[in-house]
Amino acid sequence: MAFPKPQATLRSATGIPTGRLAVWWLLASEVVIFGGVLGSYLMHRLGHPEWANAAAHTNTWIGAFNTFVLLTSSFTAVLAHQAAEKGDGKKAAGFLVLTIGGALTFLMVKSYEWTVEILEGFTIQANGFWSFYYTAAGLHALHVIAGAIIMGIVAADAYRGRELQRVELIGIYWHFVDVVWIFLFPLLYIAK
């Protein structure tokens, strides 16, 4: 039985639908969380030029490939939104499944990447650079996992033609996850 929404949920004094307004606020709070992590990393990195020796060991090609994967998944997410707007729940669900596929690919590549790095001795305790590397990318990966799970639920609903407005909402969250990675990539991989 679907949960009956209170009238409060359907009102919109601001003109922004409630769900979307909530997602923007969620993103605002996520900006300050990732900002805290990345800001701390940035200050340390700029103050410790010797971290470049550690940073030299990140694999730029894997990072670039993962960037490509996430950008593509953002593309499929927005195509899902386009389909949902036209009312085509099944097509939207299909694009969302592709997006989830991108998420899984990203996670598998990252698992492989981290395994290699850990076996080479670059553990999270090795030094400050690696501590931040695993923490920042790990926090991001947790958001990828959470996003993929919620996206699966939204896709299942959309396939049945229900709650299509949520396709846009999970998409906005997903694009945010992509944007965080767009900054992580140069910070962790390119700036050596």
């Binding site: 209170p6 009102r11 004094a13 909530a22 969620l26 605002a28 709070s29 996520e30 800001g39 999270i124």
Partner: protein
């Protein structure tokens, strides 16, 4: 369209497809009704308050009578003392002030005061309480693990908090960090609900300036929380990893920096005090308008001043770090901003006083609490100015002067604010009137001892008494008879104050059982929550959500016979 309003908010709508809330005992666990969730937060917060108060009793006994076995606890060891002091602060801020002022009264009042039938995301609301409850359980577990509860102060500075050899509470310290992180998640979820509900779900006709001040305040506080907690969540993750897997985020030898933790903590820590202050101010304003029968002196002025305070609160954080080894040039900047922030707060106090002036004042119990809030918070605010000046702070930092200052701010916020709100909205929440005489006895029995506790602490602080010391007998200059006498006076006053809380609980119980049935609008107030039953049924206005025609403070309007003008009356 028959419906029955009961105290237990089980809804009996007979519309064919209307959803039934959970029935029986399950409604206390699975309800998504904002009023039920509000009560859950309220009772959990009050229960945690009892624990925090018990801790303060134990450590004050140790300070006043060092080495003595404390009745109801036993002998206090140094490690236990540190854990008591740490967790008293942590509990009171995160598990009492925030859940009661923001989550409980926010959840209860916001949908009712804006004419909505619930929060916009009832299931996320329920989830936020469940995460909050989990965080409280995790914290309580931390007291019972080997090593005991974390003892590194609520500010948890590394390396003490990061290295188990130093803090000697290997498990307790990690559970503490975990509990705090969970509490943050709960309030992020709740905050999204409050902000979105206020922004979007107002009654038709309720413009921005028709919103009651308490709703504005709780939502602005939620915004401040959501925008400031991020860096500390980042810091908590880093601290947790330093504790458990041996990273070196805050270890200078490995390229980390303990001062970074301090900045991460206080960047949030300072806005946090405004996060708890604003709801208390909002509650005070609404109560004063109701019992002075007078329009608010400057609604927009107050609103803009509050926003300005919120913005400024992000620019003062390093005044907690004046003597921590920060660059002295930063100290200059933060002194200026800190002294500046006293201006909008003072303005708020002036506006409240101007509202009272010329009003027709009735000294009911809620009004007494609201007035006490102003008087006591004023003392707290004024003493903050001494501390905001970095030069004076060199002496005062980490003395009891600081402690008395923040208790003169936090106590009005968390305790006086709570009792003000509770006695004001009790009739609406529980459908019965509280006993006003018992309420007044409780009021005076709390306020007078409160001052007797903390004024001696100002004196002790000026005399050089350091904070967080297990036994002042170890410091000859602080072990004089005069100083110990002051400590004992404060401790006895605390015991008296705690004893008077029994009057409060007795009043609650007796009023709930045998109090006079509360009408819809016992205080003859204007805001929307007073236009429905006491307590409101599921859906708040089953016969139809109200429309709004005017602001919330139209008291003593010259064109009206009545001295109040509810927002939902067309004319």
């Amino acid at each position: 369209m028959a419906h029955t309003a009961t105290q237990t908010q089980v809804h009996h709508e007979t519309h064919a497809h209307e959803h039934h809330g959970p029935q029986g005992i399950l409604k206390y666990i699975w309800s998504t009704d904002h009023k039920m969730i509000a009560l859950q937060y309220l009772f959990t917060g009050m229960f945690m308050g009892l624990i925090g108060a018990y801790f303060s009793y134990v450590f004050r006994m140790q300070m006043a009578f060092p080495g003595m076995s404390v009745p109801g606890f036993g002998q206090v060891s140094p490690g236990e003392y540190n854990a008591l002091v740490t967790n008293h602060g942590t509990i009171m801020i995160f598990w009492v002030a925030m859940p009661v002022l923001i989550a409980a009264f926010g959840n209860f009042c916001i949908p009712l005061m804006i004419g909505a039938d619930d929060m916009v995301f009832p299931r996320i609301n329920r989830l936020s309480y469940q995460v909050f409850l989990l965080s409280a359980i995790v914290l309580i577990i931390s007291f019972f693990v080997p090593g005991g509860g974390f003892g590194g102060a609520w500010t948890a500075y590394p390396p003490l908090s990061a290295v188990a050899e130093y803090n000697q509470t290997n498990l307790g310290s990690s559970l503490w960090v975990l509990a705090v992180a969970l509490e943050f998640v709960a309030f992020l979820l709740g905050g999204i609900n409050f902000i979105t509900t206020l922004m979007n779900s107002r009654a038709p006709g309720m413009k921005a300036y028709d919103i009651p001040m308490v709703c504005w305040m709780i939502v602005i506080a939620s915004i401040l929380f959501m925008l400031s907690v991020g860096p500390l969540i980042a810091g908590a993750v880093m601290l947790f990893m330093d504790q458990t897997i041996g990273t070196g985020f805050f270890d200078p030898a490995r390229g980390g920096d303990p001062v970074l933790w301090q900045h991460l903590f206080w960047f949030f820590g300072h806005p946090e005090v405004y996060v708890v202050l604003l709801p208390a101010v909002g509650i005070t304003i609404d109560i004063i308008a109701t019992f002075a029968r007078k329009k608010l002196f400057g609604y927009k002025l107050m609103l803009y001043t509050t926003v300005a305070t919120g913005v400024l609160s992000f620019f003062v954080w390093a005044h907690h770090q004046f003597v921590a080894g920060i660059d002295p040039r930063m100290a200059n900047v933060f002194t200026i901003t800190t002294l500046l922030i006293s201006v909008p707060i003072a303005e708020l106090v002036f506006v409240i006083i101007a509202t009272l002036y010329g009003g027709s004042i009735t000294l009911t119990t809620p009004m007494l609490w609201a007035l006490a809030f102003i008087a006591e918070f004023l003392i707290g605010g004024v003493t903050g100015i001494f501390l905001g000046a970095s030069g004076a702070d060199i002496y005062f930092h980490d003395t009891y002067f600081v402690l008395a200052h923040f208790h003169y701010t936090f106590f009005p916020i968390a305790i006086i604010g709570t009792f003000a709100a509770f006695t004001y909205w009790f009739p609406k929440m529980f459908g019965k009137m509280m006993n006003d005489t018992l309420g007044k006895i409780h009021f005076w029995g709390t306020i007078i001892p409160f001052n007797v506790i903390f004024i001696p602490l100002f004196v002790l602080g000026m005399g050089g008494e350091h904070r967080r010391i297990y036994n002042y007998e170890h410091f000859p200059e602080l072990a004089g008879d005069g100083m110990f006498l002051l400590r004992q006076i404060a401790t006895v006053a605390l015991i008296v104050m705690l004893a008077f809380q029994v009057v409060f609980f007795y009043n609650c119980f007796v009023s709930w059982r045998k109090g006079a049935k509360a009408p819809k609008n016992p205080w003859k107030a204007n805001t929307l929550e007073w236009t429905t039953e006491s307590p409101p049924p599921h859906g708040n206005w089953p016969e139809g959500l109200p429309n709004v025609y005017r602001g919330p403070y139209e008291y003593a309007h010259p064109d009206r016979k009545e001295d109040y003008w509810p927002q939902n009356e067309p004319s």
